[in-house]
Structures are given as C-alpha cells and as structure tokens.
Symmetry: D2
Subunit: 277 residues, 4 copies
C-alpha cells in the first residue's frame, strides 16, 4: 500500500509542466470578438437536405444556439450571424475569464456546439441529425467603436452580397432549369445590378422584398423590457390574492435590420461604451 | 436597385478590419496539447444524478466524445482523460490548420461538445440531458518527449490522487454513514497510506483492486489492427463466392493502463517522434 | 572546389529554421509605447559620480539620446523621460516595420544606447565613460487617447513623487548632515505635505520653485516652426543677391511642462489622432 | 503645498495602465536565439570607408561587441556572427529575465549597440564615427538540439555563399577593372564552382586559402581554461614570497571554424544540453 505516497511525489515532480502554459490575455479596453464558422457546412447542408438558398430551420437553429451563448455570458453586448457563421462581441471593459483568449473562444464555441445538437429537434423535428457537427472559432480585438461597427458592417455587407448571389443562382437552377454549372457561368462577371435585373425581368422577383432574415442576417442584443407577472400574495387576514407585478428585465432580443447605418446604433446607445475610456 | 453596388463598395471599405486578426501559429517541432475541462461539472453531475465517486455512463460518454475527436483529426497521436477533463496531443510535426492555436483548440472543443450531446442517449438512455453542457479548452506546447510524457504523467498522477480521495470520501458517506462535512474532516491531513488503511480496515476494500478505469483514467491511441472482412466476389464463371480479406487498419484503441512508467512507451514506440528532429 | 555547391544545398536544407520565427505584429489602431529603462543605473550613477538628487549632464544626455531616436523615427509623436527611463509613443496609425513589436523595441533601444555613448562627451566632457551602459525595453499598446494620456500622466506623477522624495532625502543628507539610513528613517511614512514642510521649515526651500526639469521631466514633440535662411540668388543680369527665405520645418521641441492636465493636449492637438478612427 | 498629495492620488488613478502590458515569456525548454542585424549598414560601411569585401576592423569591432554581450549574460552558450549580424543563443534551461522575450532582445541589442560605439576607437583609431549606428533584433525559439545546430549551420552556409560572391565581385572590380554593374552582370547565374574558377584562373586566387574569419565567420563560446597567476604570500616569519597559483576560469573564446559538421559539437559537448530534458 506504499504506492500511493509515490503518486503525490510523482505529481509534484511532474507539475513543472504547468509552466509551459502561456498567457493569452486580451489587450484591455478593446472589444473582443469571437467568430464561429461551421466546418464543412457545405457538405453538412447537403447531407441534411437544407433548402436552398436559405433554410429557415437551419437559420433558426443557429440563432437559438447563439442565444444560448448570450444567456450564459452576460458580457456579450451584441451578436451577429448569417449563413453558418456567428460573431459574438464582448464589451470592451469585460473581465470574463480574466480576458483570456483561449477560455473565451473555447467556451463560446463549446456552448454553441452543444446547443446546436441540443436544440436540433426543436427546428428539424423528426429529421435526424446524422453526426455531431463542428465549428471553429477565433478571437479578434477591436480598439475603437468605429472599428467594431466596421467589423459588424463588414459581416453584414458579406451577407448581402452572398445572399444576392445565392438567390439568383438557385432561382436560375430551381426555376430557370439551369444546371449549377450553367448558373455559375451565367453569373460570372455580373454586377449586383445585373443580378437584380435577372431576378426582376426573368422571374418577376423584387429582391428588395426578400426576407430581411436572409438579406440582413440576425442580430441579437440585450434589452430591458417590462415584464408583468402575476404573483399570489398571502394577505394579513390569511386570504390569498393575485396581484400583478411589473418589473424591468434584461432579455435577449432578435433583429433582422440594417446595422451598417448609424440609425441602429443611435437607437441602441447602450450597446457600445464610450471611446473616451 | 442601385443599392447593391454599394454593398460591394461597403465590403471593401470595411474589409480593413481583417488586419486586426493576429497570428497564433504554434512553435514548430513541439507537441501541441489541447486540454478540455467541463465547466461547472460539479453542478452538472448533481443535476444529472451521476453516481459517486465514479459514474460509468459519464466516463463512457467522455471517452466516446474523445474518440469522435480523434477520428476527425488523425494528427492526434494520444489522448488521455479522467473525470471531466480530456487532453489531446497532436504530433510534433503536425501541420493541421497550419498549427494555428485558435483553430486547433476550438475545433477540438466543438467536436467534443457536440459529440457529448449527440452520444448522450447511448450512455444515459432515457435519462434526459437537461441543458447543453460546456467545456473550456486551452493549448499548451511541449518541446521534448520527456516533457510530453511528464505532462501525461502529471494528469495520471492527478487522477490517482483524486480517485483515492473520492473513493474513501464517498465510502465514508455512503457506507460509513458520515455527512459530507464529517467525511471531509476525517480525511483532513491524511496521507495516501492512511486513506488505503481506512478503506481496508473499516470497509474491507483493497484499493488496488478497484477498477483501472477509475484509478488510471482512459488513454486513446491509434493502432494498426488486422481486420478480416468477408467479401463476395464474382467468379469468371458468373458464380459468386465469399472470400475473407485481411487488411491492416488504423483504429482508435482504448487503454486503462499506467502511462507514467516506461513500459507503455516502449510497447507503443510509434506514438512519439524522435527528439532528434 | 566542389565544396561550395554543397553550401547552397546546405543553406536550403537548413532554411526551414526560418519558420520558427513568430509574428509579433502590434494590434492596429493602438498607440505603441516603447519604454526604456537603464539597467543597474543606480550603480552606473555612483561610478560616474552623478550629482544627487539630479544630475543635469545625465538628464541632458538622456534627452539628447531620445532626440536622436525621434529624428530617426518620424512616426514617434511624443516622448517622455525622467530619471533613467524614456517612453516613446508611435502614432496609432503607424506602419513602421509593419508594426512588428520586436523590430520597434530593438531599434529604439539600439539607437538610444549607441547615442548615449556617442554623445557622452558633449555632456560629460573629459569625464570618461567607464563601460558601455545598457537599457532594456518593452512594448505596451494603448487603444484610446484616454489610455495613452493616462499612461504619460502615470509616468509624470511617478516623476513628481520620486523627485520630491529624492529632493528631501538628499537635502537631509547633504545639508542636514544625516546618514542615508537616518534620512530614510526620517522619511518613513511621511506624506507629500510633510516632505514639503521639511524642505520649507528646515532648509528654507520652496519645492514649487525647484526646476521643472526635475519636477516634470522632459517631453519631446515634433513642431512646425518657421525657419528663415539666407539664400544667394543669381539675378538675370548675372549679379548675385542674398535673399531670405522662410519655410516651415518640422523640428523636435523640448518641454518641461505639465502633461497631466488637459491644457498641454489642447495646445498641441496634432499629437494624438482622433479616437473615432 | 497641497498639490503633492494629489500626485499620489493621480499615480494610483493612472496606475491601471500597467495592466496593458502583456506577458511574452519564451516557451520553456527551448533554445532562445537573439539575432541582431545592422540597420542600413551598407550605407554605414560606405560612409566609414570599410574595405571591400571584408574589413578586419569592422569584423573585429562586431566580435568585440558580441564578447561584451556574452560577458554580461552568462546564460548565452554560443554566439555566431558574420558580416553585420550576430546571433546569441541562450541555454534552453535559462531563466534570465524570467525568459521574457522583450527583456532578452532589448538587453542584448542595447549592450551590443553601446559597446559598438564604446570600442570603436580600439579598432578604428582616429577615424571618427560619424553618427550612432543602430541594430535591430528579434527572438526565435528552437525546441531541439537538431534545430539549434541547423539554425547556426544556416547562418554559416549563408556566410560562405555571401563571402564567395563578394570575394569574386570585388576582385573583378578592384583587380579586374570592371565597374560594379559589369561585375554584377558577369556573376549573374554563375554557380559556386564558376566563381571559384574565375578567382583561380583569372586572378590566381585559391578561395580555399582565404581567411577562415571571412569564410566561416566568428563563433564565441565559454571555455574553462587554466590560468596561472602569481600571488605574493606573507609567510609566518613575516617574509613575503611569490607563489604561482593555477585555477580554472571560464572565459569567452573565439573560433573561426566549421560549425556545420558534427566535429565542433563533439569537441564542445557542454555547449548544448541533452534533448531528453
């Protein structure tokens, strides 16, 4: 029974390996963005018969998983997602996990991934999930409000461009009868205006009237909302009585709106902290 | 319809934000360890009624999820897990994801997390998973074979020490009738030998005979195994015939053995690459 | 003579070692501070008989070396020094050395160190420099104007505090006849007000009237100044004539003024770039 | 006199800026290389009339400055220099400056730079140094003995290749009467063997007999040498007597030898630590 003593000795002998860990604290006073991207989601979408160009169930599941991340981490002030990617922005003064990049990105990725499987059935019903999907993540820092707004604008501009392309592409295939190769050819070198024109003149589709969910992606923010709940009170005379109580609660709200222009930011001034800090 | 032109312009105007990403390439010729730890798993275990001190279903699910990670990433040469943690070791010459730390750790964490939910039912049957669990991850580099073996030894020594403690603690509570506070008190300041003695003299338990799964944790490695499959061949005379074909396949194998001593490493010399490289 | 072929082969065989270099690019849109500190300058000051508490020659040499750094690197917008330290601030949009931290800090340190020896004689005359002195450097990033002003304020507050202490300490020793140990004892636990009082009541010194060079350190910035030079012109009739030409030139100017308050920054608005960038 | 209180308050208010410093500890158990390169030394050499292709004074001054670095930092186990560059290798177990990369590289660069100016006169006599020169530095880590030997071999192969080129180039110009443009043209596309041939057949120069200082660069290592000094002893009878005392002292020794082959490493086995650590 003497062996176990040696395990304590062993542990202290080996413990030096701890010192090989390096510090990856994020620079203070910068917004911390964690962006996730689905791995091989092109194939994943095929295998699970996602509708083209947009699958409402899949987009809903992405959103639901993102909400689950926000609810776990209150320091996330805004999240933006489109297609198989989602970006989470931690407030610049956040001290979550001591701002350690690896903790922040793995925790976000993990929560998102397990939620994606957990909530699958809510969106896909009896359609089975064939295998556990994977997302990769990264951390990027932005020092100013201008930078973080430009980052989100970049992602939303990307959403617009991809969605316009995909909308025309799949319309040409699904309604125009082209093969995917033919559709690709047809679109080579076309400008946005050309793509709008194809949709309008050939298929009578006004792209501007397409769903904002597709054109603008999904934005999640925390908002204070008044909530009224009914509480049963015990009165002094031992009688019970229902009273309604209103209180302000912070909740995650969903938007499919423009975040490139200034209007969104003016209407939600508490998302960003002041630059002069 | 002119708006969409501006999205292309917008995108290129905002694209500068890309340059805020920093390079986190792992130093060459070092082993890359990604270690995962369950977040708030103490509470998670309570809420899902894990048996104490070890829950075979939970340990099995951890192992299954780890196997799913290995099968996705062939450059992982060995993985070691115990309790709610798992370490994955990439070979020192690996060029997966260009050795980018963030990609490596988030991909491992994501695959593990989604697998944990995906395979839950295989291990817990009808017992429902109450919410999506989360794991955090980190990357640590080890330059020499000595260092990486010491790292794994450190985790296994930790497993031994914790398991001995937990075994005595829960035996005192479950069979000895102590409260958890009393058990904690009783064990304060005891050495390994004392703990063995309590188990032996008071409960007739020989700790050495406890399951290796608990005492030594779980080690996963790739091994070449001959596999014989039966194939139906069409003979020239149009008859069909079953023939058995043997071929060598790389498979993930599971061990619950000592990895602190040299024996394991001598028996599996292809796990580590030579230091002189 | 065939050997030299093999050196080309050797070089390409070994060139893989280049890939072990890691990228240390500084985050964009942040001020980059390089701070230098003299190594073992306490001893260096003793060995070169610096006067206490402040040696004008030594402070002048520090300043001269710092100016030499600024003149080499135009992207430095402000430098601040006191005692044996100097901080250099690169503008937030700088792309010098592609913002590589190691290049920036070693180049600043090198230029400063070689200048210190080079200009020694200008300040110390025939007093010989006994050995080559050394400075160490570091890089720190600041994301906002508030942060960089606070950084410089921190160094200037440090200058004030140290200089008040040193002034009283050396007055007690040099004029009060105390040993250094006695002076240290005497000052233990005293507040700033107490130190002012000692100077005033015992030695008739009004600390406020001490030199700003000592109390406020040295600030170097670039300024546009009109410079008038005389040029000899050849007239059409072959006669020569002296004309005076005025042009605006950027020069390094020296200040010993308060940089904690807003006044300095209001008077020199071109030092910092706007936060909203 | 109340102002000074506020400086203490100010300092603590501003001190938060300290937390913006990031940790840059070098991975343990790796060799740490600091390499310096002269900045704009092509121009510097012109302005100080260095002889071509090699200037013994300049090479001697580089060596002298490197020795000054080694003597300040005993953890440097080997240094190798050629032309206007020098590499310093810290032992893999070094804990100097807590292995902080910025401290290591700036201290080496600073010591080297100030030494270069300090010792200038020893090598260049009355020829004046026109301005303070600058060097930039970087840190690279190497995990194995093979890697660090390959790094040094890479630099020596580079020395060979450049020196052969420069030797032929300047011989064509200085003795062959070609312009530099003509010499460049003449050498375009030539192999090492061709260059040797030009030297031999046109100028009767056997390149192999050129100085090893030029062909192999300069290697500095620490060596134990017996040193005999004469000490005057006081005998019991009050007489004095000279006795010679021998002791072993560590000194920096200079080599101009091959470090690509194994012989050098076999003869100096104490330079590198074992890989199995």
């Amino acid at each position: 029974r003497r062996f176990s003593i040696s395990f304590n000795m062993a542990k202290s002998k080996f413990e030096y390996v701890r010192n090989f860990e390096t510090d990856d604290t994020c620079l203070r006073n910068c917004y911390i963005v964690v962006r996730l991207d689905g791995r091989n989601f092109h194939k994943f979408a095929e295998q699970h018969n996602f509708t083209k160009p947009n699958d409402n169930r899949a987009l809903g599941l992405m959103s639901r998983s993102a909400r689950s991340v926000l609810e776990e981490m209150e320091d996330i002030v805004i999240a933006y997602g489109q297609s198989d990617e989602f970006s989470f922005v931690f407030k610049r003064s956040s001290t979550w996990f001591k701002r350690r990049a690896s903790k922040l990105m793995t925790h976000v990725t993990s929560q998102f991934s397990s939620s994606y499987v957990f909530y699958w059935k809510e969106f896909f019903g009896e359609k089975p999930l064939l295998y556990p999907p994977s997302f990769d993540g990264r951390v990027v820092l932005y020092p100013s409000n201008r930078n973080i707004k430009d980052y989100l604008s970049w992602r939303q501009a990307d959403c617009h461009i991809n969605n316009l392309y995909n909308t025309v592409f799949w319309t040409l295939v699904q309604r125009g009868g082209l093969t995917t190769a033919q559709a690709e050819d047809r679109l080579k070198g076309t400008l946005a205006a050309d793509k709008n024109e194809i949709l309008f003149s050939e298929f009578d589709i006004n792209y501007n009237k397409e769903s904002d969910l597709y054109k603008k992606g999904t934005t999640l923010i925390w908002e204070k909302r008044d909530e009224t709940v009914t509480k049963r009170l015990m009165l002094p005379n031992k009688e019970e009585k229902d009273v309604s109580v209103t209180r302000s609660r912070r909740r995650v709200e969903t938007y499919h709106c423009d975040i490139i222009g200034e209007q969104f930011w003016e209407e939600h001034q508490d998302i960003l902290e002041d630059d002069d800090c």
